[in-house]
Symmetry: none
Subunit: 213 residues, 2 copies
DNA sequence: GCGTGGCTACCCCCTAAGAGGTAGCCAGAT
DNA sequence: ATCTGGCTACCTCTTAGGGGGTAGCCACGC
């Protein structure tokens, strides 16, 4: 398949440049155009061949929300993700109601942001983690970490988590539980997925904070 | 029962000779082997039939602490006593945390040293009197580093620790603090040493338990 | 002036960690 | 009888982590 063509809309040239650099680190994505305000975005959305629009909210001539509305009312259904500093509930809700396919905060980690942009291009609804709670009550498909995450773990996974949370390496855990290191890795991998975490460090902190011991 | 077989690990041949002479004054003990560095010690610990290892800390090819860790991680639980000139808190704590069964200073009186070695071979935890205070602090404070470990950290190291304890990778920390990943690694390395910990996972758990946030 | 500690950055080297995948075995459920 | 979930074990591949070292710059204290 050909590369994903993206329009970046933001009134700060430097920010656009940063996003361009980030996005084009991925060989499958390219910045097909830039716009510095909502009006230009509406224009570009109607003329360029686009797969995804990254839109700022706060812009001078026309803000992102209004631009989104005009784009949609022009019958353009290009995927569009808000990329902004505002974490206000109202902004999030309004953007999604107006037809945004995602809402990301500018202070995300770059590689995380890049991953979300890719997901958005693939058709997923992407939301910054901090906003997941807000979204839970509004959108049905929200992906917030389940409160009963602990009970979803098998007893073996709990064994591993408890040991991991004492700072043990996979090898030490393996020796202690008398299984191979490879098997420990499998359990760690699975429990990370179940808990929605990304590393054993997060798992250890999670375990301590949830009284797993 | 048969005589106690001891491995002496020290990079000074003369010191080894002195210990050998001292130990073999006791008819129930014998020096079953000598090693001049940590690597040799790890090797010997895995092959010789031993009851006790006397290990120096400061050695060229592999220091005693690392040798101890490797021995333990090889699943060898032979009793092991550090025999060194260092009376630094950090060294004592690290050795005991790494699984040492004792920590003796080289400037002890010979007959006193011999008595302690016998005790160690019998299963006791032996500590040079001068270090008793340190040990008391460790035992009462549960696990973890010296009481003033936190205050020994520089402000930058605290920055790193706080961020690390949120599960961030070195790369993420670097981006957040606007330094290179290499520099983050340096700080992590140093704070691990100061806290007597062995991995970022232990550091994260330590941070949570000590309210570093 | 000089040394020291703190922060930064880089080097090399090796191991640990994590994401994929396949697969065998077993117990409990259907 | 077949299926499913859980536990085990192995594979490959890539990145992350951590130990060792050197070094420049700066601020502080002596």
């Amino acid at each position: 398949m050909s590369e994903t063509r993206i329009l970046i809309v933001d009134d700060h040239p430097l920010f656009r440049r940063g996003v361009r650099q980030l996005v084009e680190m991925d060989p499958d994505m390219t910045i097909a155009g830039e716009a510095s305000n909502g009006a230009e975005a509406v224009e570009a959305a109607g003329t360029l061949e686009l797969d995804l629009i990254l839109m700022d909210l706060n812009m001078a001539r026309m803000d992102g929300l209004e631009a989104l509305r005009q784009i949609r009312s022009n019958g353009v259904d290009t995927r569009l993700v808000m990329l902004t500093v505002s974490d206000a509930d109202d902004d999030v809700v309004a953007a999604l109601r107006a037809g945004a396919d995602g809402y990301l905060l500018k202070d995300m980690e770059p590689e995380d942001l890049l991953a979300r942009i890719k997901e958005a291009a693939e058709g997923k609804l992407v939301i910054s983690p901090q906003l997941a709670a807000i979204l839970a009550g509004i959108v049905s498909g929200g992906r917030a970490a389940p409160a009963d995450a602990l009970s979803s773990l098998t007893s073996r996974e709990l064994d591993i988590l408890r040991t991991l949370a004492r700072g043990m390496s996979n090898k030490m855990i393996a020796r202690r539980l008398d299984i191979t290191e490879g098997t420990v890795k499998v359990h760690v991998k699975n429990l990370l997925k179940k808990l929605g975490l990304r590393s054993r460090v997060e798992a250890a902190v999670w375990a301590v904070n949830h009284g797993v011991s």
